[in-house]
C-alpha cells in the first residue's frame, strides 16, 4: 500500500484493511494506469472478479470493485473506483481479458459504461430489456412488462 501511495499520490483516494483484506480506492482518471501497474509490477495477474455496488445516496453512486489475486505472492487485493451515474470508466479488458464478460455483466445489471470495451452488450438479460436490475432503485418486483408481453405473450412474469 505504501508503494501505491508513493507512486500514485493522490491517485489513491483511500486505503484500509478490513478483516485482513487490503482495499484501495483509486481515482477514476488514473484507474487504467493503476490497473496496469498492479498486473505488471505488483504481479496481481489473476482478476478473480469484477463487480459493482450501488450507493444511490452518494454523489458518485457506483463502486466498481476488482478482486485480484497474485500467484507469486499468494495475496489478494481489492481495488475500487467511484463512478457517477452519467460517467464512463475505462475498460480493463485489455489488461485482464477475463474482464470482458465481467464488465458486460456489470453493464447489464448496473448500466455502467466501460469506454473502449470491445463488445459492451447485455449478457444475461435479453438485448432489448429496459432497466438495470441490480440498481437499488429497481424494486424487486419491477420488470420490463412490455418486453414480457411482447416476447412471452403473458401479462406478467410474476
Amino acid at each position: 500500500m505504501k508503494r501505491y501511495k508513493n507512486r500514485f499520490g493522490d491517485g489513491i483516494r483511500e486505503a484500509w484493511i478490513d478483516r485482513k483484506q487490503s482495499i484501495l480506492v483509486v481515482d477514476a482518471a488514473q484507474y487504467e494506469e493503476i490497473a496496469r501497474y498492479t498486473r505488471d509490477d505488483e504481479q496481481f495477474n489473476l482478476l478473480a472478479d469484477l463487480t459493482a455496488v450501488d450507493w444511490p445516496r452518494r454523489e458518485k453512486r457506483f463502486d466498481v470493485v476488482l478482486n485480484l489475486y497474485s500467484f507469486a505472492k499468494n495475496e489478494r487485493l481489492r481495488i475500487k473506483v467511484h463512478v457517477g451515474e452519467k460517467e464512463q470508466i475505462s475498460t480493463v479488458s485489455g489488461i485482464w481479458s477475463t474482464a470482458n464478460w465481467l464488465e458486460r455483466e456489470v453493464w447489464d445489471m448496473f448500466g455502467i459504461v466501460f469506454s473502449g470495451h470491445p463488445n459492451l452488450t447485455r449478457i444475461l438479460l435479453p438485448d432489448e430489456w429496459q432497466g438495470f436490475p441490480l440498481r437499488k432503485d429497481y424494486d424487486i418486483l419491477t420488470q420490463d412488462t412490455a418486453w414480457i408481453r411482447e416476447n412471452l405473450g403473458i401479462e406478467s412474469g410474476q
Binding site: 478490513d18 478483516r19 483484506q21 478473480a48 472478479d49 455496488v53 500467484f71 481479458s97 444475461l124 436490475p133
Partner: protein, 392 residues
Amino acid sequence: MADFPNSGARDIHVTADPNFSVDTETTVLGADEIIINMGPQHPSTHGVLRVKLKLDGEKVVGSECIIGYLHRGVEKIAEHRTYQQFAPYVDRMDYVAAVSNGLGYCEAVEKLMGVEAPPRARVIRTILTELQRIASHLVWLGTHALDIGALTPVFYCFREREEILKIFEKYCGARLTTHAFRIGGLQYEAYDELEADTERFCKDFETKVDEYETLLTENRIWIGRTKGIGVISAEDAIAIGATGPVLRASGVEWDIRKAAPYAAYDQYQFDIPTGKNGDTYDRYLVRMEEMRQSARICLQAIQNIPAGPIMARIGKVLKPPPGEVYHAIEAPKGELGYYIVSDGTTQPYRIRIRPPSFVNLQAFDTMVKGHLVADVVAIIGTLDIVLGEVDR
C-alpha cells in the same frame, strides 16, 4: 391456431436475428464462412447454452456463447432476504455441487461476522464437501464421456454417485439441493454411521476409479478425441481467469485448499495434480486424480472427528458489522467467490457471487478455434460448466 382451441398454443412471432444469415450463394463449394447455431436445447450443452459457431467447412473459426436462459436474479434476491434465508438459494446455482456452494456462503458470512465454526463442524463440512467434489466430478465424467460417444462410463459413474447421495440423504434428508450447513456451523449432528459409510465408500472408490480408467485412459478412441483438443496455455488460462481443474491441467499448481486453507484442509495430506499440455485429455487426468485425492482426504478426516459443539455461539438474528468480505473456496469447478457487503442490518446490502463456470466458459472461444465441429461437444464437456451457475 384455430384448429386447436384448447391446446394453449399461441401465435409466436419470431423475429429473425439480423446477424444470423447463411449465404447460400457462397457456401456451396465456394466454401466461405457460414454461421450455425447450436443449442440452447442441444443435449451436449449440459443445460441451456446457445453457441453460434462460425465455420469454414467443418473447421470452427470463431464462436459466440449466448447465455442467460437460466437467469433468476439470485444476487437481487439476496438483497431482500436475511443472511440465513438466502443460504438455500446458493444450492441452486451449481446444483450438482450444492454442498460446496453452501460451504462457501456460510464461511463468507462467518468471516464477515468474525466468528469461526467449531472444529467438529469444520471436519464434518470437509468430509461432506469432498464427497460432493467426487459426486460433481462423476457427473462430469459420465456426461463428458457420453457426449464423446462412450456410453458405459455414465452408468458406472451414477452408480457411485448414488452412494454419495445416500450419505447426504442420511445426513440431512436431501440429495441434491442439500442446504447441509448453517452459518456458524451445522444444524444436524452427524448420524451414527457417517464414518462407516464414508469409509466403506472411499475404500471401494479407489478400485472404482481404476475401473473408469480401464475404460478410457488408454482407449484409442478416447485419446483420439481428447488429446490436443481445446489446448489452452497457462498464460492464456490466467489471463482469461480460468481456475480449478482447467487451470491445473495447464500446469499451474494452484489450489485454494492449499493456498488459503479453509474448513479443515490444513490438517490433511493431499496432492494437487497438474497437467502439462492443457488439453482435454490432461483435464480428464487431473479430475480423475482429484477424485482419488478427495477420497484420501475423507479417509483421513473420519479417523479423527473432534468432539464438541457443532454450532458457534451466534444469535438467532444475524447482524454482521458494516464492512465487506471476499471469500473464495475451491469448488469442484474452480474458484467460487462470495463478495458480501454489509450495512449492519439483517439483510445483506450486496452479495456478488463469483461463479467458476461463468468465467471458465469465457475460455471456450480460445479453446475451440481451429477445431472441428465434432470437438465442440468435447470442449463444452471438458470445461465442466453448469448453466445454473453461469446464469445465476
